[in-house]
Symmetry: C2
């Protein structure tokens, strides 16, 4: 064994992280040796904290340290406007973008018959309840454009058919700043189809 | 604040690691959320272990969990052949290359007047002692080919001038200015094999 046992252990845990290979894990572990004692203590404590303190918001399913997340608690936000997303990572993306002032509903998955994930396996029942309790509900479906995303979008659309709910989905098109000649043809087709008139 | 506090903390600690930027740290922290409870406990424990258990070998200055490191303890190795290196990372590289059967002496630095690091600031006194106590001492100076490395090599050569010590340095197989611990093992083996005697 080349490394002392505790160092070897640390290397193995760094290796479990996405995109961290053998060489990189070694580098991170050796760098950790140079951390201040206090920093190592806090680093270890923050790992335990993340495990012990973080769970799902009772209302929207997003990650929080409380019973109800800060977004659901925020009275300045529009609670009739609910953005439906696949997982909590999308919440962080929207919040960083910073312009959305509604709330979220985290499905924690998408309908995928191939993986045995049906409508009952994702966080849909509580969405129905939320919509029923809202005054003028509006849903924004922000699910990815894969088969599973489209299936889930259609399923949700069907649930609220004939009910007084405005439903929209994110627009498809060219990412801002992207080179048009590097775009995949499906996106390009979609952008063409959904083209927006700009003349009067 | 976009992230729950404990998650934000973890992101900040990942960001302290070399080569891990904001975006990557977020990715690692979110991936950590999906670790098994047991893995998080062990990950945190391994951080503390590295801090608490690892210190320098009393003989060679290499990292170990014991008073004397496994290499210095190993009686099958040639204790007259001492490879002098800048830091412990080089030991790991040599040990991975796997052909060196002598022992090491970790200087923990190089002479660098510009940084106010003189001969007394690196682990040289104990090297002199080790050489004096050895039967037929042979030193291999495996320091990088920078000004500091060359200065230190010359200084050590001078210390043992007119003493019964064979001194060699690694051959010029080392790319100029490269860090020894990032060398590929074949180059490292070659440099070890072609080491060049510099004492009379």
């Amino acid at each position: 064994m080349v490394y002392p046992k505790s160092l070897e252990n640390l290397i193995n845990y760094y290796k479990k992280l996405p995109g961290i290979g053998e060489k990189n894990a070694e580098r991170l572990a050796l760098a950790t040796l140079n951390f201040k004692e206090e920093d190592i203590d806090n680093f270890a404590a923050s790992l335990e904290d993340v495990k012990n303190k973080i769970h799902k918001c009772k209302i929207c399913g997003h990650l929080t340290e409380w019973e109800i997340c800060d977004i659901c608690k925020d009275e300045s936000r529009d609670h009739n406007l609910i953005c439906v997303i696949e997982d909590y990572k999308s919440v962080f993306s929207f919040e960083k973008a910073g312009n959305y002032r509604g709330v979220y509903h985290v499905l924690n998955g998408l309908i995928s018959p191939a993986d045995n994930i049906g409508p009952d396996n994702i966080n849909l029942a509580s969405l129905v309840k939320r919509v029923e309790q809202a005054e003028k509900p509006e849903l924004i479906l922000a699910l990815k454009s894969t088969v599973e995303g489209e299936t889930t979008t259609l399923y949700i659309k069907k649930i609220f058919e004939n009910k007084d709910v405005v439903i929209s989905r994110l627009s498809y098109g060219i990412p801002m700043g992207a080179e048009i000649d590097y775009l995949d043809i499906i996106t390009l087709d979609k952008a063409l189809e959904d083209r927006k008139k700009i003349s009067e």
